[in-house]
Structures are given as structure tokens and as C-alpha cells.
């Protein structure tokens, strides 16, 4: 054995030396480009040179989606901002969407949050002790929705985008079966059944394995039935919201009806989101219920005929005479952690992000609706006709107040898991009874 030693040592040390060299070499080249950049910015106007005397600042800005990263790269966010603020470097950090909240909680415990912290609306309450109020920020004042999401009477985050929830469908399949765009819940379920009876296509693609893709139903329908965007908070005032006649119960009866109709393929719980997307894209499935954001996803898929794809708002009402409640989602709240060393620079960046210099260009590219007064985004033709329904009524979705959060934590209330259980065919009445019991119990504490 010992006679092999010199050779192993030599081979191993060769590998190590070369491995050590690689980053060094690439480090050198990086250094060079940096100095080049520095030179190119020098011969600029005097005013900018004055600005350059400010200390260099790096703002850390995490994002949770690769699509956002692609857009930021395409529109060159970092350099666009540098043009106006030469001393500020925006450092993007791409994080995994499913890990984002955990990561930020860990970093928060060590006071290591980034300088700009995008949050989902439901997380604002969790982070409120750790972020600064933005009431005086211009971007907040001109935002249509920021004030709707106040926590303890302060604006803590400026929302970037607003979008609606759609059912995406293949026009050709609807034509094949002579299906009209459904206007009521009953028509929607009937349309799915018609396609199922045809035996050719899966009516609705559902990535039930991942849990979250059932959100258009399990998360949003209670507030649609209640016509109350803050329905979670309302629920927290009730002892037994899982009782017949309550909006949650009525909504879930509808959802159970849909799941029981077996219109989501042989095993929706075994399919992940990526596969459900493929099923829809490859014409195996006729419909898929997802938010507006799915549009850019579809465009990025090869071989999808975009002309064949349409979108309609998910109808939840019982008859055409009722108001057509539809969810309006406000997402990606820009906030600034208290631990940031450069709160002023961060505020300035947020103002810039929502200004003419960047916002409408970016939102048009992302195909999302504006949250700013006076800014309208052209969404192209994809949603033509989608909003032409009678009695349309927007329900602004909110994440629930602190009372609700307490109950949610205490009983680990998770509507997406409930949705999975319903797809798996668990006893619905027992589920509702159990929920009533634990809900009441948690409220009494």
C-alpha cells in the first residue's frame, strides 16, 4: 500500500494547486474589468464627479425568482442605477423562493438582513419589529395600495405589482367541445366535466404535490365567497368558522365538489408544478388556474402556441346576477430593515425604482399591473376580454392580522395542506369538525 503513496500525493497536490489557481486567475480578470469600469466613468460631467466623492455604498438587494433576475439583467438594473448614483452599487442576491422566508429569519437573528428587503404581504407583520416605517417616502405616498397594508398604522412596505388570478386555457380545446367561457362556478365545473368526458385531455392541470399550486382555490376562495379581502382576520373573530353557512365552509364545499369530480388527471397529488406546467403547455391539459405571473412563464416555454392560449377570471359566484368577485393580489413589498447601514440610500433607491426612470419600463417587461397612481401598464392582447364580465368586483387580498397569526401558529393552520388532504379524499365533514374544535380551542387561549 505504501508504494502508491508518492503517486497519490503527487496527483492530489497537483489537483489542489490547480484548484487554488483557478479562482486566483479569475480573480485577476475580475479586478481588471473593475478598474476598466472605473476609468470609463471618470471623464463625465462635473456634477457627477462631485457625486463620486461620496463614499461608495453597496446595497444588498435579494430577489426570490429567476425570472426577476433575468429581467433585471436584461434591463441592466445595476448599471442603470449607477448612471444616476455613481457611488451606489446594487448587489443582487438570488435566493430560492421556497427558502426565502427561512433565510431571512436566520439572517435577522444575526442582524444581517439586506439593505432592501422584498417581502410578501403576509410577512409584513412578522418582520414589523425589524423594518423601518416608510410613511414619508414618495413612493409610498403615490402608491395605490401601500396604505391598505398598514401594520400598527404605519406603512412598512411599498408593493411593486398588482395582479389578478386567471384560469389559463387552450382556445382550441374549448372550441373542440363547444365550451363558452364559464361565468359561474357551476359552469366552470361543468366545463371541466365536459372535457373529462371527452377522454382526450386532462381538464385542469394541477401541481398538487407542491402544495402551493392549489392556492387559487384553497387560499383565495373563502375571501371571494365572503367578498372580504381580509377574511382571515374576520375568521379570527369567529369561534367556529368551519360551519355550514360560513364563507370558509361554503367555499370549501365548492372546492371539494371540483376535486371530487376528478377533473385534474389520474393523480394531481403526484404531479409537481413544473410537470403541471408541461401538461398544460403540451396540450395534454385544457386549463390551469394560476396568477398573471404565469404569462411570462408560458412565453419562456418553447413550442407553446401563444395564439391558442387565453385567460379568464375564475368564476366563484352561483349565478350571473351575483357580483363577480375576483382576487386582486398585491405583491413584493419593498421594505428597509432597521439593521441597514445605509437607510437613506436604500430609501432613495426605492424612490428611484418606482419613478419614471425605471418602473414602467420594468413592469411592461414583466407584464404585471402597476401599483402606482398615474402609471398604466400595457398588457398586450393576452388578457383581451378576460375582464369583460358583468358585475366585476375586485377583492384585495390580505394576509391576516395578528390575532389570526396567533391562531395560525397555534394550530398550524395550513389551507394548502388541507387542499392536498381534500384531493386525497379525506373525510370532509370530519375535517371541518376537527378544524372547528382546534380553532375554538386556540381562540380561547
Amino acid at each position: 500500500m505504501y508504494n502508491v503513496r508518492p503517486r497519490i500525493t503527487r496527483v492530489l497536490s497537483m489537483i489542489m494547486i490547480s484548484a487554488l489557481m483557478i479562482p486566483l486567475v479569475s480573480g485577476c480578470t475580475k479586478g481588471e474589468t473593475a478598474t476598466n469600469k472605473g476609468q470609463s466613468t471618470q471623464p463625465d460631467t462635473q456634477q457627477e464627479q462631485k457625486e463620486e466623492k461620496k463614499d461608495p455604498v453597496t446595497l444588498k438587494f435579494p430577489i426570490w425568482s429567476t425570472i426577476t433576475e433575468d429581467l433585471f439583467t436584461k434591463l441592466d438594473l445595476v448599471n442603470e442605477y449607477k448612471k444616476e448614483h455613481p457611488n451606489v452599487t446594487i448587489e443582487l442576491e438570488l435566493l430560492k423562493d421556497t427558502e426565502y422566508e427561512n433565510t431571512m429569519k436566520i439572517r435577522n437573528a444575526a442582524n444581517e438582513l439586506p439593505d432592501i428587503l422584498p417581502l410578501k404581504s403576509a410577512w409584513l407583520i412578522n418582520f414589523k419589529d425589524n423594518i423601518v416605517p416608510l410613511d414619508d417616502l414618495d413612493a409610498a405616498k403615490n402608491n395605490i395600495f401601500a396604505a391598505d397594508f398598514k401594520v400598527d398604522d404605519h406603512i412598512y412596505g411599498v408593493p411593486e405589482s398588482q395582479f389578478n388570478e386567471f384560469v389559463w386555457y387552450h382556445k382550441s380545446i374549448f372550441k373542440e367541445y363547444g365550451i363558452e367561457i364559464p361565468q359561474t362556478w357551476g359552469e366552470f365545473v361543468a366545463a371541466a366535466k365536459t372535457i373529462k368526458d371527452g377522454g382526450k385531455y386532462i381538464p385542469i392541470a394541477m401541481g398538487g404535490k407542491d402544495g402551493w399550486p392549489n392556492y387559487p382555490f384553497n387560499e383565495f376562495m373563502p375571501s371571494l365567497v365572503a367578498n372580504d379581502g381580509d377574511y382571515w382576520s374576520t375568521m379570527a373573530t369567529k369561534d367556529e368558522p368551519f360551519t355550514k353557512g360560513e364563507a370558509f365552509y361554503d367555499a370549501y364545499v365548492k372546492i371539494q365538489e371540483l376535486y371530487d369530480a376528478k377533473v385534474m388527471g389520474p393523480d394531481p397529488l403526484g404531479v409537481g408544478f413544473d410537470q403541471s406546467k408541461l401538461m398544460f403547455g403540451s396540450n395534454q391539459a385544457a386549463m390551469i388556474a394560476l396568477g398573471q405571473w404565469f404569462g411570462s412563464d408560458l412565453k419562456s416555454m418553447t413550442d407553446v402556441d401563444m395564439n391558442d392560449i387565453g385567460a379568464f377570471l375564475l368564476p366563484v359566484r352561483n349565478s350571473v346576477d351575483d357580483p363577480f368577485n375576483t382576487i386582486s393580489m398585491v405583491d413584493t413589498f419593498f421594505s428597509i430593515p432597521k439593521s441597514s447601514k445605509y437607510p437613506d440610500e436604500a430609501k432613495e433607491f426605492i424612490n428611484w425604482f418606482f419613478s419614471d426612470a425605471w418602473y414602467s419600463k420594468y413592469m411592461t417587461e414583466a407584464q404585471l399591473q402597476s401599483t402606482m397612481k398615474d402609471v398604466k401598464i400595457d398588457l398586450g392582447t393576452m388578457f383581451d376580454g378576460a375582464f369583460d364580465v358583468s358585475n366585476l368586483n375586485y377583492v384585495l387580498n390580505k394576509g391576516g392580522n395578528e390575532d389570526y397569526k396567533k391562531i395560525e401558529t397555534a394550530i398550524k393552520f395550513d389551507v394548502k395542506k388541507m387542499g392536498q388532504d381534500m384531493m386525497a379524499g379525506k373525510d370532509f365533514n370530519k375535517m371541518m369538525q376537527d378544524m372547528n374544535k382546534s380553532w375554538k380551542n386556540a381562540r380561547s387561549k
Binding site: 497519490i8 479569475s26 425568482s65 423562493d97 421556497t98 444575526a110
Partner: protein
């Protein structure tokens, strides 16, 4: 053990049949992934998974290589591996030598801490670990994972102590009689004699570091510090993942470890045989 036991040709046939079946069980899932990496998302969605791809379509690989900044990731991974392996072999051999050859107070406690490090519930203690790394000023630098990888490694310590156990104490003593110091005994004798074990452990450590995703992800989020494995994550995010790219990324992430493994597998087995189990 004994050749004559296999004289019976039926037995022999059965034996090879079992081994071949095991190989098939190991290979089939990998083959499916390999095939998928050459298919378009539509083909993956509609064809039999074990159907050979119609052509070697490298489009998925192209996208993954470009978007994932794979070469940068590979560079970072190799750097991490090189430094971790060096630090770990030094610390590992030194600790094992001190623990195996000397008696001192605290020895039991140190061993206990190594054991505790192995069975500690990782993710829940992450907040404490993160605080430490931050206070050391290592957050968002490539040294954060290196320090963490160096911190505890019970299996490594175990293998090294087993190995040192196999080196007769009389050798130390005669060297000492010749005037060597303990330090010299370690550098001139123990460390070189441990090299076969070091080779094995280095390869295992290299594979571990290469495959670790969570620590680099959490401790160095800067986009210039992505490793090979964190790029895999880039293609698997829940909303934007798709099978065509993900399978190409999986194959690309697997390749370097497989190459390391196939070149050095001889030493892995030798090291394990020579050290792990003499006791």
C-alpha cells in the same frame, strides 16, 4: 473467500444475475435523467422515460451553462474543496494523534463534543451558527463554509484514530529514544504513515463539499460566490423549474464528482479497507 464455493455454475449464474440486477436498479433512474437532459420539455412530457433521445440535443446544456454561470460555480467549488481538504487533513491528523497517543483531562469531553456535533439537529441550531459566522466577520465570504466544514467531523476522527491505533506505539518510543520530539514523531512518522487514510478521507471530503448545497447557499448568497451545487438550485426553484434544464443541470453537477470518483475509487476502497476497520 474460497474459490471452490463458486464451482457450481448455476450458483455462479445466480450470483451474476443478482449483481446485474443491482446494477440495473442503480442505473435506471440515472439513465432516465441522462436521456431527459437531451429531450425538449414536450418530449419529456409525452415520451416513455427510457426511450432513447432522438438526437444529442445539447440545447438544455447550453442554457444551463450560460444561465447558471457553471464555470464560475466550478471554480468556487474547486477552491472550497482544495482548502477544506488541506485544512481537514491537517486538523484531523493532529487531533487524532493527540487523542490517540496521549492521556489528558478533557479528553472525554472533547470526544463527547465531537459526538454531539454529529448528532446535533442541524437546521434548528442554524441561527446560533449564523451568529457566530457573522461575528467572525466571515458572512458572505468563501471562508464561511470552509470554517464550518472544518468544525466537526466525527467520522474522520474515527477513521484516523483507528489508523493510528494500527501503528505500533513502540515505533514512537524508539524514535523518541533517538532524540526526536513528539512534534517530529508526528511530522516525520505519523503524518506520512497516515497518507493512505488521508487520501481516502480527502476524496470523501471532496465529494461532501462538492455536494453540499445548504451551507454555501445560506452563508454566501453573493452571486459571484455561487458553487456548482447552488447553481442546481437555480434550476429547481418551485415556480420556475422545468425538467429539461434541471436534468441537464443534474448531469453537469454529477459529472465532476463522478470523474473524481472514477479516477480515485481505487484509493477510496484501499483506504477504507486499510484503516476503517482495524481495531
Amino acid at each position: 473467500m474460497t474459490t471452490n464455493r463458486l464451482a457450481n455454475p448455476i450458483k455462479k449464474f445466480a450470483l451474476y444475475l443478482i449483481l446485474l440486477m443491482i446494477c440495473m436498479i442503480i442505473f435506471i433512474p440515472l439513465l432516465i435523467t441522462l436521456f431527459a437532459s437531451f429531450k425538449t420539455s414536450m418530449q419529456i412530457g409525452s415520451e416513455f422515460a427510457l426511450k432513447l433521445p432522438e438526437s444529442f440535443n445539447f440545447n438544455n446544456y447550453k442554457v444551463v451553462l450560460e444561465k447558471g454561470k457553471f464555470l464560475q460555480g466550478l471554480g468556487n467549488s474547486l477552491f472550497l474543496i482544495a482548502v477544506s481538504v488541506i485544512i481537514n487533513s491537517l486538523l484531523g491528523t493532529m487531533t487524532a494523534y493527540a487523542i490517540n497517543r496521549f492521556d489528558f483531562r478533557l479528553k472525554k469531553i472533547i470526544l463527547g463534543l465531537f459526538l454531539a456535533g454529529m448528532i446535533m439537529p442541524g437546521m434548528i441550531t442554524e441561527i446560533s451558527r449564523f451568529t457566530i459566522i457573522k461575528n467572525l466577520g466571515l458572512y458572505n465570504s468563501i471562508w464561511a463554509p470552509i470554517v464550518i466544514y472544518a468544525a466537526t467531523n466525527l467520522v474522520q476522527l474515527y477513521i484516523y484514530t483507528q489508523f493510528i491505533n494500527g501503528i505500533p506505539k513502540e515505533l514512537d518510543e524508539s524514535a523518541m529514544l533517538d532524540g526526536s520530539s513528539y512534534f517530529k514523531v508526528f511530522t516525520k512518522m505519523i503524518f506520512p504513515l497516515l497518507l493512505p487514510a488521508t487520501a481516502t478521507l480527502a476524496i470523501i471530503k471532496a465529494v461532501d463539499v462538492m455536494n453540499d448545497m445548504y451551507i454555501p447557499y445560506l452563508y454566501m448568497p453573493s452571486s459571484t460566490l455561487r458553487t456548482l451545487t447552488t447553481t442546481l438550485m437555480y434550476f429547481s426553484s418551485s415556480k420556475f423549474g422545468s425538467w429539461d434544464y434541471l436534468s441537464a443541470a443534474i448531469i453537469l453537477v454529477m459529472l465532476p464528482t463522478l470523474v473524481i470518483y472514477l479516477i480515485f475509487s481505487k484509493y477510496i476502497f484501499k483506504g477504507i479497507v486499510a484503516g476503517a476497520v482495524k481495531g
